[in-house]
Assembly symmetry: D4
Homo-oligomer: 241 residues x 8
């Protein structure tokens, strides 16, 4: 791979077009989805990202593949629970707090994917685990603390009831993450997903099953907006109806 | 229809075999499922049931068909909310109480099907409505009362989260009834149904979507058993494993 | 209905428990879901809400039922496109702008549900319609304006591809609303819903099919948070892992 | 893990909030769902439960993980058929009998999960196996014995027809457990589940696929209620309709 | 439409290619599927069939469309329960009997579609109605009679358990017809269909939901084969494996 | 296992109730479904069946488990393609021929399950392989031979189109077997199953996915009926409508 | 609506952004999807299209709405079978022929949507109807003619088997259109759709259920390409792999 | 295998009927679907194809099975990414270019199956990878090049949005290939498949999930037609409507 000029918006690797302009456009560099890519492909993309952006994050990376990637791109950190691997971090810390709440101990890997992604993005995280609705007092014991979090991520499998209850307890935005924990009628997380979308509480939105990463990203966009404050309103597209 | 001897276990109507032995076998006479039957068929079956058992219950009966049935079989009562129609009632009142709890006002028709079926079966009913999990304090305000009900029927649509929460609050059996209330990802009640089956709380079981009648029947079997007390254990089938 | 003391947190109407504490807890009073409720029930709940909170919003209200409600509770406004009916509005206007972008003209009723809910909540709205991905230049013509909106709601049916494209163009949070527009393989919005959840762009989250209301609510929670700024971090629940 | 005062309602383990109040609230201590938890996590939770409640039950535990748990928490019993592991048992035996009926030999692991959970809870169990509906005389040979059981749990895969037949033969409550036995159109137990929910017999309710544990828990709640007898009716929530 | 020579194997009507060779090939002339065709189209096809084959059968014909067809093609018979309309009948009567057994009164329209199709095809029919498995004695009372039928068609909705039980009682072929009777988890007949396909009894096969016509046709093929006796074995295609 | 009297209709093995009366009732002894049973369980059931009926058949038996069974019950034959294992065979050969037609080479294991089951039952089989509809001339080359088969079993995966074409070419009964061959939209055989049930050709019925065994059983019931001829019609249940 | 300069690529109607550049980009002007739009909206878009492109096509237009549109935009033609409405036509006729083949008379509305769309686009059409696979000779009678068509569109409901057979008979591209004709297991066209996608014949591709319009459009793109001949190969994006 | 005369249209291998006439009928010899066939079966079919047609292609071949096949049929080439194995190639090169565009690096195996199949068929291929819609500028950078491709194959997983965008940018036919890349709501490619079928852009058609081979085949049929030019129109089947 020959050297390229620093302002090239797309890094051409043949099998991949690294989207260097994404940092300017979206505020954060591209992240590498680890499934279905070879260790060699991942290492090459990470090399390019680190070179241009001084940080990189890979998601859904199995431990064995992580080892291969590490041998080619050595200075990263790998966490086997969240299956995240990263090089560098956000240069600054965001203000505000994201609470990452999870229903059961079995949901922890997804919750950790959310929490560690947030930390990589520079967002302060508060964790609360194993507060499923079958023992509602465990959740209510943290009612005031929850109400103080600026964004709440709620991770739950099985029937996915926890986000509805939490949303009713707070006034800040809630992001719900269904997990594939459960069996039979849980349908690998489909039931929790549909339940969260059908939820009777308003003020929450939902991401894909086991997508702790996506919830974290959305939460970080919100915290960044809070920090930046509202923009001038866009004039051009308020078209007549 | 000619007269038949009183002990005939099956009443032959051609299009229907009225199961007169059901009262002896199951404790309660056969109930008529109103959908897909003509008013004439329903009236004929009801006539036979009233003749032999002095009471009859028809479920899922539209108002217009109910009127037709009433013109042929006059002394019944019809409730348009529950779409139940009945002639006579259980001869005695059961001991104990069934709480019929429902998540939202839109779930009331199903809750009423449960409550009125229980009343027809002679079971005392306590109703609690509109206590969905998005405002959990409405439910918790009734925590002690719920714990005193002998059986709790919980009716909920949308994400169907309420039964899990209730089951965690009480020690008596809970029967969950999903409703078809909701839209989109609610899938006409399938989501609530799957959610209840996947529920993390133990001590509850589930009936079909909108099946308030079935939940009531199960509750009444439990109350009857409570009244009768445990039987001598069956000896014959404890086969070696 | 007898008079009740002003601080009662729950308004007992028998068929409904009006959650008066919700304004304190969630920042906004309870909203009435119009489907499956009778006009009389809706009017009674609205009366209570207006009495206590000086405003009320009903969603998913058919035109004919709206007329009945209006005859009992006269000073409301009804919009047949969004099927919303409201009495009063938010006392103050929020800062910041929510862009409501919709893919096709057929998606407009859902987009209007979102836009008018936002207006009822006091949030400034900018509308952009009919910019589906089959003619991508229509969207790109508004690229800079979109990037200035504080929150973007994207409404799309059929394959639901628009939110992924928009999310890649902006750095603020995007909320995707699938609609039931389409036929055959669109499965009444399920396809758009699943597509949005599977989307390759990060920074968006999803609400139920046709749930413009829910998206608006989530957007308003974000704008409110932006206005209020980050809270002090909650101390109590950062438990050891 | 430092020592904690004996009356602490929640046992904080960081990754888990052990719900010590559950015994007071639900009559039985919390049970540990074994899937998705590490052996170390399970052992820690069990240690806490045994310390406070003198008994513990873990479900869905693979043989290899059970061995690991046993090495840290030695005095338990593990059954490879039911995949249950337990320490201690219920202090007293309940009155009454639960019949655990299963359709085919392949359904036995689920039936054993039900039967052994019941035994751990102190409930007398009578087992009847391999009485599927294709040879109905095998079931009818036990007709009188079935009618004497206080609760009947029916375990069946494939088309799941057995619970409907059994429910028609008895007057006590029936709890149906679909299993994932079968292939093709059996859809890993979904068909049996839907069939049981659609069943034409009234007096039964259903739990999740392969959830012998849940059925046992529901049966034990019923037996406990039978033993305790009906409570005084709750006064507070019979609200006007 | 001009006259055509009598031996033309295909009757060209433009919108339809009437398959006159079907009688030679399959033993019975083509039958007209009534849904999605206009009355004029149906009448034209029937005219051609009656001209060439002296009989015709139309399925799934609504009463109002039947009246229109009758006005153009007058000598037919219409039955509103089965929604069949026919002109002429099979010239001869088959030997043997087909039992048409149905689980509930609500399933009768489908059972009648089967029974009347068989009668049109010349097959003797014995009807048995309302013998669902919730009252198994109603079925067992006819055990010997069922065993004497040459083919048994079993029609059932809801959980569709009846065919498995019947198949276990007889040695002749059983054809199962799921119906769309039921609600909620019955999924418009999908549950009964899947249940029948998953059935643990061997010796039965299944047709489409509500397809009484198709079951009758298969039964008639069997009776015809019984009458004709086995053919000489085909020599040509026993290829080496 | 102690000796038992020869006329005992049910063989009690604890984990299994061997249905010895099935041969009298259904004409053939019980068959053992191999999945989900241990080799020891299978061997015990087979021993009992061979003792009483001089033959036994086990389906869906993996090669490794078959070896274990063989070590305990030595005189059987195992075929790894069909995964069938059997001891003894039908005492007599049936008249007539069953054609087993399969669409692709990948469908052969299911076709062989059908063919070998038929041979075990004493039915003559003619095989025709790899005649899928994409090269229709391969099928049409065998048109006359197919028309001479007394029953035709058609095995096909992917879109499952072959049975419709075959049914249109013959006048004898056709039994369709969908297979799980295919990928993506084939949904592990669900698509072929639904396609066969929706088929426009009349005169065929369908069994479960990959259920070559079930199709063979149905075909053998038909051949047996052909050999025996029609029975006297049952008198008792032609009830008035 | 004020006048706009003729070269404006987007026509701003507020509720719609008419994509005038589409003709330059895709070769044909935008088409109006009629569902979910009011007659007034449709008329306004059509007016703009006719003004700029001298032709317009609306799909999926009910007869009553078509009448309303006609009253505002008078010179169009409406066909109630295809539910298409159009103003003007393609200025020139394409070379080559598209065969539109349909399985049953009930599929004709979809086939007509395809055929009339092609005619509006200037493509010669040859129609062949009612040649379903249950009477394969009807199709084979047209074998040579089919092989001469440049593109073949095959429209079929139920099991959707026809496209596989046709694709095996020709060497030119085949486009398959599933229809919603059928019942029960046909699942409103899903079964035909999945079957066509799973088809064993190669050389065909599939469009949405009932989407005759889409198939026609694809066929016209192919004919246009045939007329224009191959372009010079694009140089820029053959990136190294 | 004995020698056979060169003009035999079907090669009888017992387990397979090699369709030698396919080259004459469809323009290209039969291709071997590798799944579900043994290496020995594959090698035998390939031997026959190479003997008669001097080339052969096997799809979906695992590396280990490929090695076995190679040992029996040595001169082939195997590519582990596409899982294709081939002997010989098309004798001539087609004119025109097929662009194979893929959304993400993880989709490359499917894209390579398409590209290499095209190369085997003699079609020039231009590859463009990793241009998913979340960074739309990567795609737009190739806008002119895409518009010059004669056929465009678009391969995408997750939400499958790329084909709609591409179709809107070009005027030549687009063939969309959904992939099974993604997790949770992606449903193993079902979501991408449904999304592509529901796409709002006209001018594309769809093949099965991961079916790069099928898309290539369709594209090659188009290029061949372009090279041959339109045929004389078929006269025979334009039947009156």
């Amino acid at each position: 791979m020959s050297e390229r000029p620093p302002l090239e918006p797309i890094g051409h690797l043949g099998f991949a077009q690294v989207d260097h302009a994404r940092e300017a456009r979206n505020g954060v560099p591209e992240v590498v989805y680890g499934e279905g890519k070879s260790a060699a492909q991942i290492a090459a993309i990470v090399a390019r990202l680190v070179e241009r952006h001084a940080r990189a994050l890979v998601t859904r990376l199995d431990a064995s593949k992580a080892e291969e990637v590490a041998s080619e791109q050595p200075s990263g950190h790998y966490d086997p629970r969240s299956r995240l691997m990263w090089w560098g971090r956000a240069p600054e810390t965001l203000k505000g707090t994201v609470a990452v709440v999870c229903a059961g101990t079995s949901d922890l890997p997804v919750a950790e994917e959310a929490a560690q992604t947030l930390e990589w993005l520079g967002a302060p995280v508060a964790r609360l685990s194993d507060v499923g609705v079958a023992g509602i007092d465990r959740l209510l014991a943290h009612r005031e603390a929850l109400a103080r979090a600026d964004v709440v991520i709620v991770v739950a499998g099985m029937e996915g009831a926890l986000p509805s209850v939490v949303t009713g307890l707070v006034r800040n935005p809630v992001i719900a993450v269904p997990t594939s924990i459960g069996y039979g009628a849980s349908l690998n997380g489909i039931t929790a997903l549909l339940g969260m979308l059908s939820g009777c509480a308003t003020g929450m939105s939902v991401v894909n099953i086991d997508n702790g990463f996506g919830a974290a990203w959305q939460a970080a966009r919100i915290l960044t907006l809070v920090e930046r404050g509202p923009a001038e309103p866009p004039a051009s597209f308020s078209l007549p109806t």
